[in-house]
């Protein structure tokens, strides 16, 4: 079956512009996660969804970042007024249930470059 998909695969934007990143999880996976991978850093947890709700938003780096998930499926991560430090690979993952957070299936990522 199809894995987690993300779009776009690459995004170059000017500083100050807003960007929207999309994640399509594996069908039937109720839990969805967003991570950020910066050069030389590990994977930084941003936010997770169980269904459409995001109980913990504390991982979002600033209030310029927001995420939503509708219909228990597709999720979008929005970054407003992008800054150069936002440049990173944004990874989405999904798992069958929140009770098995370690068994996450990752998408290919969106490489964001802010110029």
């Amino acid at each position: 079956g199809a894995g987690v998909s993300q779009s776009p695969s690459n995004k170059v934007t000017e500083k100050g512009k807003d960007v929207e990143l999309r994640c399509d999880p594996i069908s039937g996976h109720t839990a969805l996660y967003w991570y950020r991978q910066s050069l030389g850093q590990g994977l930084e947890f941003l936010i997770y969804f169980q269904g459409n709700s995001a109980p913990d938003k504390s991982g979002l780096p600033s209030d310029r970042f927001s995420a939503e998930r509708t219909g228990g499926s597709v999720s979008t991560l929005t970054i407003q007024r992008t800054q150069q430090e936002d440049s990173a690979v944004y990874l989405c993952a999904s798992s069958l249930a929140l009770a098995s957070p370690g068994e996450q299936y990752f998408g290919p990522g969106t490489r964001l470059t802010v110029t």
Binding site: G40, G42, Q50, D56
Partner: protein, 112 residues
């Protein structure tokens, strides 16, 4: 707070030599530990988890609670093992339970 430390950014070994990728963790409860791997131009994927006590592609990892370690081992490295390896931790209670905390990764290079 939960933390995962992978002390080596890069590890180079010769083909056929033993491999040990180190991982230490900090967590107040009983965590679940995982190893993820990312081969060149491929997406991040789960390699193994400690609760399964399994061997995948010849790799094993034992959770040592006394030393808070979860080192990844393979007796004989193969060229196809060259990849980026990440150790990850999932808590079992509290607000952080549903996230994976990753180490910064170790790049394994197997020299032919």
């Amino acid at each position: 707070a939960q933390r995962v430390t992978q002390p080596e950014k890069l590890l180079s070994v010769f083909k056929g030599a033993p491999v040990e990728l180190k991982c230490n963790y900090s967590y107040s409860g009983s965590p679940e530990l995982f190893w993820y791997v990312q081969y060149s131009r491929q997406r991040l994927q789960l390699l193994l988890r400690h609760i399964s006590r399994e061997s995948i592609k010849g790799f094993t990892a034992d959770l040592n609670k006394g030393e808070t370690s979860f080192h990844l081992k393979k007796p004989f490295a193969q060229e196809e093992d060259s990849a980026m390896y990440y150790c990850a931790l999932s808590g079992n209670s509290g607000a952080g339970s549903y996230q994976l905390t990753f180490g910064k990764g170790t790049k394994l290079s197997v020299i032919p």
